[in-house]
């Protein structure tokens, strides 16, 4: 991680996102979905919008399904629209970003029993704080792009008949469904990274990484187990108990410690310790953006 780096979302990234969406537009199922929506709206217009349920060939359920598909698919575009709106609107800070850091201990200040206990009284414990500010869109756009991809995949699975509403969710599912499963697991990982990084701003980069990884592994395990046989063996009972305990061990510190609540004093003390150790750190520079190094 480069010290003091800022990653701000720029116009060129909007172009990349739109190009990705344009590429996805060539998927046959998307075109079919758009075509179905167009036919739906045509029917609605022909009936002067009299009764939403009546103008939808499949009823409200089909209408809701089309709406969910469109919502999922157009998420990256929605974020880009919000980005453009925030840039064009003046007044107030409407941007979103998260600050992660990588604090390094001043190891010479540490005390070992019966070795250097008398010489470790006043030295600062923190030698360097490398903070990085990341734009919210960098974290959330991979998640939204994967949401688009998974929505297209399950629409495809339904279209080719690999998935029906009454298909048993077990190990006999077709290969196309396992592709959807794999992409869905990636979506879960990006979701956890985005949410934990944003909700736990000002925490360590490694903390966020390991918390997201642990939570994703637990979710993937549980989701994969859903396809197993309904009857538990004795060994599976033990495994399920262990997984539940690990799950609680992962979630408890995540939600009790990492969320940005009443932790500022700790962070401020950390940064003040680091600042005290700095010589010529450039007074007046915003600490959240600045790498502090001990002389």
């Amino acid at each position: 991680m480069a010290p003091g780096a800022d990653y701000e979302f720029g116009d060129n990234y909007v172009l990349i996102v739109l190009l990705l969406l344009w590429g996805l537009c060539f998927c046959r199922n998307l075109l079919e979905s758009v075509g179905a929506c167009a036919r739906l709206f045509e029917t609605c217009v022909a009936r002067d919008l009299c009764g939403v349920a009546a103008c939808c060939p499949g009823g409200l359920a089909e209408l809701a399904r089309q709406g969910v598909v469109l919502f999922c698919f157009l998420q990256p575009a929605a974020y880009c629209v919000l980005y453009v709106m925030h840039r064009s609107a003046g007044g107030g800070d409407r941007r979103s970003s998260t600050i992660l850091h990588n604090a390094q201990l001043n190891v010479s200040s540490l005390c070992y029993f019966d070795v250097n206990g008398s010489a470790c009284a006043s030295a600062p414990a923190v030698a360097a704080v490398n903070a990085v500010q990341i734009d919210f869109l960098f974290l959330v756009l991979p998640f939204s792009l994967l949401v688009s991809a998974t929505s297209m995949l399950w629409v495809n699975c339904v279209a080719i008949g690999a998935l029906k509403s009454d298909t048993p969710w077990d190990a006999e599912l077709e290969d196309a469904v396992f592709v959807y499963e794999t992409v869905y697991y990636a979506e879960l990982w990006f979701m956890n990274v985005a949410v934990i990084a944003v909700a736990s701003s000002e925490r360590s980069l490694l903390e966020v990484h390991y918390a997201a990884l642990a939570l994703t592994l637990m979710l993937v395990h549980v989701c994969a187990q859903a396809r197993a046989a309904a009857e538990y063996t004795a060994a599976e009972h033990v495994g399920a108990t262990l997984v539940t305990l690990v799950f609680a061990a992962v979630l408890a510190p995540l939600w009790s410690e990492m969320v940005q609540v009443a932790r500022l004093p700790t962070l401020l003390c950390l940064l003040r310790d680091a600042r005290a150790a700095v010589v010529g750190d450039g007074a007046g520079s915003p600490l959240a953006h600045t790498a502090l190094s001990a002389s």
């Binding site: 107030g92 970003s97 009454d166 637990m218 187990q225 859903a226 799950f247 500022l264 962070l267 600490l287």
Partner: protein
């Protein structure tokens, strides 16, 4: 000095609900769920989480959560 970020709290709360819903459903429906049920729960959770993130982006996290104390250190 004490400060809380309501947006981060709300997002973490929605995330907790989504994660627990996913886990509970998949554990209880093991071997007995249909594809329709699984997709309904998964897509529902995805939509809820997406709407929470979109709301966070629309409101603007920095204005709500930026620690003013930090700027004066």
């Amino acid at each position: 000095m004490q400060s809380a970020c309501p947006a981060a709290l709300a997002l973490a709360g929605v995330h907790a609900v989504v994660v627990l819903t996913l886990c509970t459903f998949h554990m209880l429906a093991r071997g007995e769920a249909s594809a329709g049920q699984v997709l309904l729960v998964r897509i529902g959770c995805t939509v809820v989480m997406s709407m929470a993130l979109l709301a966070m982006c629309a409101v603007g996290r920095n204005g709500l959560c930026a620690p003013a104390d930090l700027k004066s250190v």
